[in-house]
Symmetry: C2
Subunit: 429 residues, 2 copies
């Protein structure tokens, strides 16, 4: 049986899961591909590090060029992450006529379009299923299975760390800071949690999904991203009273007739019957709306060694099938839609706002008049006395421009009866 040579760059969490699946399921994979997938070299930074998977020592090298220039290696999997030097390695791999698989979200978000171009010009494969949502095959779904559809919108929970934190805050009524510390102690959050809690990770992922779904390059730096540090236990409790949960959602919408799209990541209230509302803990899920298929959802583990390894090895199998059948470069990902990013000021949302006011007659009418002055109409209101002789007022607006909403909040905050505006959060329908 033909052998296909695999080279890995990186043998950390994703690399060891990839190696484990290639080893444990070798026979099964060979029967599915019609060829044996054989790991020939693995480039690592530190040869002395203990790996979670048993691999013959002679496969390891600290010289990435040993992998890229090995004539017996057909496919290179870049599993290190970050832009430098991963980008240069992948370019070198293409120059050496190697097929490439990656799980690198930052690289795909920042340079995916340029790298896809190089691959396509050279009829080489370049697959990146592991870069978004771990083991969930969302890139293949959008680029292949749902290719009959105009993708109209994508909405997902694509960051496991923040979903774990928000789920635990909801379950335990605990504060963000307390749960973050616990998540760090458990290894679910990094010592520096910025990439997750400030939504950079989710921003990279939705930029990738939007660019594939909409067929247009998306500048990730133009994606609105707001993290979850401001979400309080009180907001979560109030949302629950309103039959909502709070999630960090990544959203991309397009209006092709107008040539525009909008891409954003932010916390949002979701009604408890929303398909994403019950996605808890470290799970991820992505909703895709197509003009033929309607709403579909893809759910699974968003990170971890074997789940992300499943995505990487799935890509290695796809590329190997192309090698066996002589069809590398088989899947084109055209990026010719040229949608413009709609500026934030022009996007309409529903908003939740929580404020306190003196517990006096007509407080609510004063507050709602202010919103009316800004043309923001109100969908629902809760007012109740709290234990400080104040009234807590929670409003949910109908869809309105962010500018109008923020204008109304600014004026409401300065009303003599209002003692504080504590938080506002978007609401997704």
């Amino acid at each position: 049986m033909r052998e296909i040579g695999i080279g890995l760059i990186g043998c950390g969490i994703v690399g060891s899961g990839t190696a484990a699946l290639l080893t444990d399921n070798a026979d099964l994979i060979a029967s599915r591909v019609g060829a044996k997938l054989v790991v020939r070299r693995i480039a690592v930074r530190d040869l002395s590090k203990i790996r979670e998977v048993s691999i013959p020592a002679e496969l390891f090298t600290t010289n990435v060029d040993d992998v890229i220039s090995d004539p017996d290696i057909d496919i290179i999997a870049e599993l290190v992450g970050g832009v430098d030097p991963a980008k240069a390695w992948i370019e070198a791999a293409f120059a050496a006529k190697k097929q490439v698989v990656t799980a690198n979200k930052e690289l795909m978000a920042k340079h995916g379009h340029a790298l896809v171009q190089i691959a396509q010009e050279n009829k080489l494969d370049f697959y990146a299923e592991g870069s978004v949502a771990g083991g969930i095959p969302i890139i293949a779904a959008m680029g292949e299975s749902l290719a009959a559809n105009r993708i109209q919108a994508v909405m997902g929970i694509v960051n496991g760390t923040t979903n774990f934190i928000l789920s635990k805050m909801a379950d335990e009524g605990a504060s963000f800071d307390d749960v973050l510390r616990e998540a760090q102690a458990l290894g679910y959050a990094e010592a520096d949690p910025t990439a997750d809690v400030d939504a950079h990770d989710a921003r990279y992922k939705i930029a990738i999904l939007a660019s594939i779904g909409f067929g247009t390059p998306v500048d990730e730096s133009s994606v609105i991203s707001e993290g979850i540090r401001t979400i309080t236990a009180r907001d979560i409790a109030v949302a629950k009273d309103l039959d909502h949960v709070i999630k960090l959602v990544a959203v991309a919408e397009q209006w092709e007739d107008q040539g525009t799209m909008h891409v954003r990541v932010h916390p949002a209230l979701l009604h408890k019957d929303h398909p994403l509302a019950s996605v808890n803990g470290a799970y991820n899920a992505v909703l895709v709306r197509g003009d033929g298929v309607g709403d579909t959802m893809f759910y699974g583990r968003g990170a971890g060694s074997l789940p992300t390894g499943s995505a990487v090895v799935g890509d290695l199998i796809a590329v190997s099938r192309n090698l066996v059948s002589g069809s590398t470069g088989r899947v084109h990902r055209p990026a010719n839609a040229n949608l413009r990013m709609l500026p934030r000021e022009l996007v309409k949302s529903k908003f939740y706002v929580r404020m306190t006011a003196k517990d006096l007659p007509k407080v609510l009418s004063q507050v709602s008049n202010v919103f009316g002055d800004f043309d923001v109409s109100i969908e629902s209101v809760i007012q109740r006395a709290n234990n400080k002789d104040e009234a807590e007022i929670v409003l949910i607006t109908h869809k309105c421009l962010e500018e109008s909403f923020r204008g109304a909040v600014d004026v409401a905050e300065r009303l003599p009866v209002v003692t504080g505006v504590h938080n506002w959060i978007r609401v997704e329908a």
Copy 2:
């Protein structure tokens, strides 16, 4: 730009959705494939029938051979359903070296293995995404994206009609008969509802999923299938009190180390936090458990013209990409696992049973003694007086053999204190 000739056999619900997407999204699809997909002939039974999609009259023919033998047709989509004559048409298409796409679940369940063999021997493509769960790309997910995994279990809600009926019974507290009549009036259920409510449709679908997931031919006639006619509004209400919903589930499990599998369709209680519990109305969802990826779920519209058309056109795009890159027959689906079907008597399940008894002391201990005599241990019990001076007793057992459970129920039913055993239903964890 190269043209790829498409021939359709059938232009009913699925055929017209297929034609509509090929027309409406023609430019988008061409840019994704690098070739134009052009419908050249459509075979129908009745030329005078009004179609929901505008197609030039000269494309229609009543002679299927006009489609199969047309030298300008590269791919044939069989969208008629049933075994005869669809099977003969597909065999004729293979003999004419045509690629084939189908949405025919009965044919795939009964003869899929043999047809895949013919296709593979001739290096022809044979895709059938539309045969299971409408627009949800579950066959591609299992056969391609998740191909790194040993698939351990598949569990789904794959029949929209029964899910609509059960969802409506739960929402309205209505009886099966009343909701069935309503579903028939709305067109959600057929005049003869047997295929749906007696679970034949779901049996075909889980047989297909198990055969692809486990890589073994599955004899659909050996799949246990029990329908939903016996489910009462009372069962649904009692299940709700126990935080469960009742769904028609299709389940396939394998124990590869023992060389066995089990495939079944039946109503089941699911805990409200189960990922399938919130799949309501006409939606479908399929859970797939792989040894690498863990639990994944795929959700969407399980039927309908455009959703199923999305699956068919997705297959046409995949085959077209293979034609453009010269790689038809690219995806092998080995069926060499040779798993034996575990007989029903050897499968352990949890069971719910609802009975009534005279409202006397020690009734519950008499009943539970009987279950203990059959080695069936009880996980939870509800006993409460009803308005006829009886006690309603609801038991949920731990996992046990069906034989033991039914033995216990038979004996319990004959206890002098027991006034009736009203229903028993499996419980899935």
